[in-house]
Symmetry: C2
C-alpha cells in the first residue's frame, strides 16, 4: 500500500524528535551552553509539510512497484531515515535563506536568526544582538546541513552509498544553492524584459523544482534501484510539477492568507523576489506602473496600501493570470508523464496524481 502523507509525516516527525534529542544530549555533554543550538530548532523543526520526505518515499515505492519488489507497510525504517534526512537538509536551507532575506517568521514561528537575537537580548549579552543572531543561525544551518548528511549516509540502505544515489544527493545540494545564488542575483540586478522571464524560470527550476520535487522522487527511486528509463519518466513528472509548485508558492507569497501561509502578506514583495509572476507583471504593465513596481519592489517598509497597490498591478498587467495559466499547463504536462509508467505502479501513480492537485491548489 502506498504510504499517505499523514503517515509519512508522523514517522518523519518521530524520527526527527529522536534525532534532535540525541543531538541535544551530545551538545549538552560538551557544554550546557551548547544546548541552545538544538533548543532553537525545536519549534521550527516540527511544523514542516514533509513534502520532500513524502516524495522520496513515493519515489521508492514507485520503483519498488515497477520492479515487483514493493513491500507492504510498515515502511522500512531505513527508508524513513533516508527520507527524513531531506527534511534536515531543507531546514538548513530555510534557516540560511531566512537569514539572507532577513525574514522574521517562518512556519508561523520566529526565524532562527531572530530567536538567537532574542536569546542575546534576554541574557543582556554584550555586543550586537543582530550579529549574534546571524552567527547563531549560520552555525545552526551548518549543523543541520551536516546532520542531514550524517543521517542519510547512516540510513542503513546499501544503495545509499552507490554512485547513482550519491550523484543525486550531490546534485540536489548543489542545484539548490546555485538557484539560491541566481535568485539573489536577480533581486539586485533587474534584467531586460526579454531576459527576465527566462531567468526567473531558471531560478524556479534549480532553487525549487529540482530540489523540492524532482530530486526527492529520483532519490527514493534510485534507493530502490530504478533503471535509467524509469528515472527519466520520473523527471518528466517531477520537473514540471516542481515548477508549478513554486509558482503556487510565489502566488501565495503575494496573495496568500498569512494565517494559512505562516508568512506575513507581501513579504516576497518587500524582499524584492524576482519571481516569474513579477517578470510577467513587468512585461505586461504600463511604462508608468512598471516604474512604480521597480521602485517599490524590495522596499522592506512597504505598508499594507503599497502591497495592495502592487497586488492590483500584478492582476491588471495579467501577471497573475499568466502565472496561473503556466501553472495549469505545467501540472498537465506533469500528469501526462504519469501515463508512461508501467501498470504495476498504478497505485503509487494515483497517489502522485492526487498529490499533484494538492500541491498546485494548496492555500499554504
Amino acid at each position: 500500500m502506498t504510504a499517505s502523507l499523514t503517515e509519512i509525516r508522523e514517522l518523519v516527525d518521530a524520527q526527527l524528535h529522536e534525532f534532535l534529542e540525541a543531538r541535544s544530549r551530545e551538545a549538552t555533554a560538551v557544554s550546557a551552553d551548547a544546548a541552545t543550538l538544538t533548543d532553537v530548532l525545536d519549534p521550527l523543526l516540527f511544523r514542516g509539510k514533509r513534502i520532500r520526505a513524502a516524495l522520496c518515499v513515493w519515489g521508492y515505492q514507485l520503483a519498488a512497484a515497477a520492479a515487483g519488489t514493493h513491500r507492504e507497510s510498515p515502511l522500512p525504517a531505513e527508508l524513513v531515515r533516508a527520507a527524513t534526512s531531506l527534511e534536515l537538509l531543507h531546514l538548513s536551507a530555510l534557516i540560511h535563506d531566512d537569514m539572507m532575506d532577513g525574514s522574521d517568521t517562518r512556519r508561523g514561528q520566529p526565524t532562527i536568526h531572530r530567536r538567537f537575537e532574542a536569546f542575546h537580548d534576554e541574557h543582556e549579552f554584550s555586543g550586537n544582538a543582530e550579529g549574534f543572531g546571524s552567527a547563531g543561525a549560520l552555525i545552526a544551518g551548518d549543523l543541520c546541513l551536516g546532520w542531514s548528511m550524517s543521517m542519510f549516509s547512516s540510513c542503513g540502505m546499501e544503495r545509499a552509498a552507490s554512485p547513482a544515489v550519491l550523484n543525486i544527493v550531490d546534485r540536489m545540494r548543489s542545484d539548490v544553492m546555485i538557484g539560491q545564488y541566481l535568485d539573489m542575483l536577480g533581486e539586485t540586478r533587474p534584467l531586460p524584459d526579454d531576459k527576465s522571464i527566462g531567468a526567473a524560470r531558471t531560478v524556479v527550476k534549480y532553487k525549487s523544482a529540482k530540489y523540492s520535487v524532482e530530486h526527492p522522487l529520483l532519490l527514493g527511486a534510485a534507493l530502490a534501484g530504478a533503471d535509467e528509463q524509469l528515472l527519466h519518466t520520473i523527471s518528466s513528472f517531477g520537473m514540471p510539477l516542481g515548477e508549478a509548485f513554486q509558482l503556487r508558492d510565489d502566488v501565495l507569497g503575494v496573495f496568500g492568507d498569512p494565517h494559512q501561509t505562516g508568512k506575513p502578506a507581501g513579504d516576497d514583495l518587500r524582499s524584492g523576489k524576482r519571481t516569474v509572476m513579477i517578470a510577467y507583471t513587468r512585461a505586461g504593465a504600463s511604462a508608468a506602473e512598471k516604474r512604480t513596481v521597480d521602485a517599490m519592489l524590495g522596499d522592506p517598509d512597504l505598508n499594507e496600501d503599497d502591497v495592495s497597490y502592487l497586488r492590483g498591478v500584478i492582476e491588471r498587467s495579467g501577471g497573475l493570470a499568466r502565472t496561473e495559466q503556466l501553472m495549469t499547463n505545467l501540472a498537465q504536462t506533469a500528469r501526462s508523464a504519469l501515463s508512461e509508467l508501467p501498470p504495476e505502479t498504478a497505485e503509487v501513480t494515483a497517489t502522485l496524481e492526487a498529490f499533484s492537485h494538492e500541491l498546485t491548489g494548496r492555500k499554504s
Copy 2:
C-alpha cells in the same frame, strides 16, 4: 615510505583544481552568472597549509603500517580524495567563520564575503553590497560543505561508508560547529576568572584540537581499518597536539608577523576572541589593566597603539608566558603518546613527531 607534507600538498591541490574546474563547468551550464560562485573560491582555495589532509594521510599510513599493509608510494588516489575532502570542509568553515568575524583578509587574500561585496560594487548592482557579500559567502560556504561530503562519500574507499568512519566524519562536523558557537558565546559574555580559562580551553578542544588534528588522524586511521586501541593512542597524541596547535595560532593572532600569517596584526583582539591567552591575561593582570583589556577587547577600531598596549599587558600579566608553558606541556604529552605505538610504525611516528615540532613552532 611516509608521504611528505609537500608531496601531499601537491596531490591535494591538483585534486582541488580538477574538482573546482568540474564544478565551475557544472555551474556555468546552469547559467553563466553562476560561475562567480566558483571563481571567487579560486584564490583562497589554493593557499592552504593542507595540515588536515596531511594528518588524514598520515593516520592512514600509521594504521596501515601497524597492520603490516602499508603500501609504498604513490599514495592511493582514493586516499588523496578522502583527505582532500577535509580541505573543502575546512574552506567552508573558514568562509563562514570570516563572515561572522567580519574579517577582511584570509591567507593574504580578501575574504569571500568581501569578494562578493566587491563584485556587487564593480557591477553597480542595486541594493546593499554588504548584504550581497554575506549572502554570497553564506551560499559559497554551504556549497563547499556539501562538496566536501560529496567528495568524501565518492572517494572510492570501501570503508568510507562504514559506521566507524561515518561516526568520525559526523563528530568532526558537529564538534567544530559546537566549538564555533561556544567561541562566539564567549565573545559576547565574559565569564568570571575561575570559569574563563576552562571555557576557553573547551572552545580550543572542540573548535580546533579535535577538528584540526585528532579527527583527521582518526579518520585516516579508520579508513585503514585501525582497531580501538590504536585509535585511542592516536587520540592521546592528537588532542594535546591539537590544543597546542591552536594556542600557537592564538599567540600568532596577536604577536604574529602579518606578512607571514596573512592576517592583520591584532585582528583577534579587534574581534574580541576570548582565547586561553586572554583568559590567563585577565587572571594575571592588575584590576585596572583588566578593566582596560575588557574595554578594548572586541573594539574593531583598535589602532596600532592600542594593539601594542594590549600586547604589553598580555606579556606583563604572564598571559603569554603561561600560554607558551601550556603549549610546551601539551606538545610533550602528545609526543610521549607516540611511544605507545608499535615498532612497525616507527617511520610514520618519526614524521608525526617532526610535524608536532613544526606545528607548535610555526610562524604562520
